[in-house]
């Protein structure tokens, strides 16, 4: 191939021997990636450096002071009793979300993978919340979950007294998880559906001839073959769950108490409501470390869990 390239008659400025095909390509390559690379440096890497720098300072916005305090914010992190509750809420939220989201997505994908007439209509409807504006979706659910709202109204028709969903600790957490899952489960559903359709039919036929029951076929054939997709969606979903903000802000404002104050919401409160930018930055570093560790751990796990990789 290299020979073929050198035989190309150079034209224009390329006639000077300096501008070889390889050199022109290098230049083109750099120019093509320049906007993205500069963007990452300016909007990701420099801010990441800054957030670490801020986290070593006490920053008083009102007095306009910015003093170096070393690890003091990190000591505060350890001594902050609220933070334990916040991390607990974050863990419950993320774990609940991932488990509920992935199992529902898989169930829906298996259903949509059946040979049934009109299945596209169901697919469209299950997917539709993904395109509904997030805050609009959250507002309706907030409305439905009021003490005298639609859900309790329905329950009352059957003689059941519903709880005040968003004002009690357990039900508030369940509510924010459920609202988020129904909003976005369509995405994972589609990814699973694509994976299921990629499983060769012959495998099932062979299993049927061997007399393997459906459930066993699912466990022994389907699950191993779609395991790369399961891993990928679980990484995306966990990282996404750590970023959930709007739903909390609209539905519960982190309450009651701190029961639904997840880390991002706590970070927002500390930095932008109480103007503790130094401590807010320390919380940002904590969030970064958690995301990095989780992603790395799941990536490592792929060797053990993922059956094969395409």
């Amino acid at each position: 191939m290299a020979v073929a390239q050198e035989n190309v008659a150079p034209e224009g400025r390329a006639s000077s021997p300096f501008w070889t095909v390889a050199r022109r390509d290098s230049l083109a390559g750099f120019l093509f990636i320049a906007p993205q690379l500069i963007g990452i440096i300016v909007f990701v890497l420099i801010p990441l450096g800054l957030v670490f720098w801020y986290s070593l300072h006490e920053w008083n916005v009102l007095a306009n002071t910015f003093t170096y305090t070393g690890a003091q914010n990190y000591r505060m992190l350890i001594e902050d009793t609220n933070l334990l509750e916040v991390l607990g809420a974050t863990a419950i939220f993320s774990a609940g979300l991932v488990v509920f989201n992935l199992s529902l997505a898989l169930l829906l994908a298996v259903l949509l993978n059946q040979k049934l007439a009109g299945i596209t209509i169901f697919r469209t409807l299950f997917f539709s919340p993904v395109v509904v504006s997030l805050v609009a979706w959250t507002i309706v659910w907030g409305f439905l979950l009021q003490k005298n709202g639609g859900i309790n109204g329905m329950l009352q028709v059957f003689g059941i007294e519903g709880p005040n969903w968003l004002r009690e600790e357990t039900t508030a957490m369940i509510s924010v998880i459920v609202v988020q899952v129904f909003k976005n489960v369509g995405l994972n559903m589609i990814l699973f559906l694509a994976a299921l359709q990629g499983v060769p039919n012959e495998l099932y036929e062979a299993a049927r001839i061997d007399g393997a029951p459906r459930f066993k076929q699912f466990r022994r054939i389907t699950l191993p073959l779609i395991s790369p997709t399961i891993l990928l969606t679980s990484i995306i979903t966990i990282v996404g769950s750590l970023q959930v903000f709007a739903q909390i802000a609209v539905l519960t404002q982190g309450g009651p108490g701190l029961s639904t104050t997840v880390l991002v919401y706590y970070l927002y409160q500390q930095a932008f409501q109480f103007h503790f930018f130094g401590y807010g930055s320390t919380l940002s570093i904590l969030l970064f470390v958690i995301v990095a560790v989780l992603t790395f751990a799941q990536w490592q796990m792929r060797k053990r869990i993922v059956f094969y990789e395409s």
């Binding site: 609009a136 009021q146 129904f182």
Partner: protein, 280 residues
Amino acid sequence: MKAELSPRMKVFLYGLMCVLLVPFVFPTWWMVTSSVKPISDIFAFPPQLVPQSYDWTTYQKVFELQPFVQQYWNSAYIAALVTLGTMVVSSMAGYAFARIRFPFANTIFMIVLLGLLIPSEVTIVPLFQMFLKAGMVNTHWPLILVPIFGAPSVFATFVMRQFFVTLPGELEEAARVDGLGRFKIFRKIALPLARPALASVAIFTFLHSWNLFLEPIVFLSSADKFTLPQALTQYTDAYGGPMWNIQLAAATLTALPVLIVFIIAQKQFVEGLAHTGLKG
């Protein structure tokens, strides 16, 4: 799994799917119908699945209480700019990472991929300070520049790269023999073939921008600058409680256009996203 299903099984599956559909479909129905109910009917018992009487003044109030047209325009033009900008930036970068050999390409690719690892929430504090220094707080610039060039566009670049990797090299060789330069090969040959990938990039970028919430409430402070998600939460009474019917009317106006476009083009949406799905 693909065996013909028995009729009884079919009935069971349809029934199961209809039950499962309720939490996906009912909220949208409830939003639209409640938005036209008079305030007295909104918490009526038993719940009115279909409005018994109509009150269209809620829609009038949506526009009276806030500069809603302006806010709609803000959200729309920001999402459009971000979508276009991301398509340009990510298709160029994705193409270069996939098809051009240049020094340090792999190292640079790893650096760019770091953007996937760093949620924008991590950098929101320094970004706020940077834009404050640049005099761009309470303008739309942070909501436009950061998504196009920063972390949110990295996923798009990754998707485009995965697509361009699959293009056969002969196409480009032929173009090169015809004397086309890199940029022309990209524009005339690679990009037209990348339509499906570009379409899915456009869809998820648009939705991401349309849904942004943390960034607008951090960066914007005056009502005429607000974007829709932020505006929706502002319809509150003197005690800070939500004015439900007006919020729902505004929510309906926000959600329905995208929903309608989706239903018309659902095939492209769903298959496009499944595609990005991460083959490879």
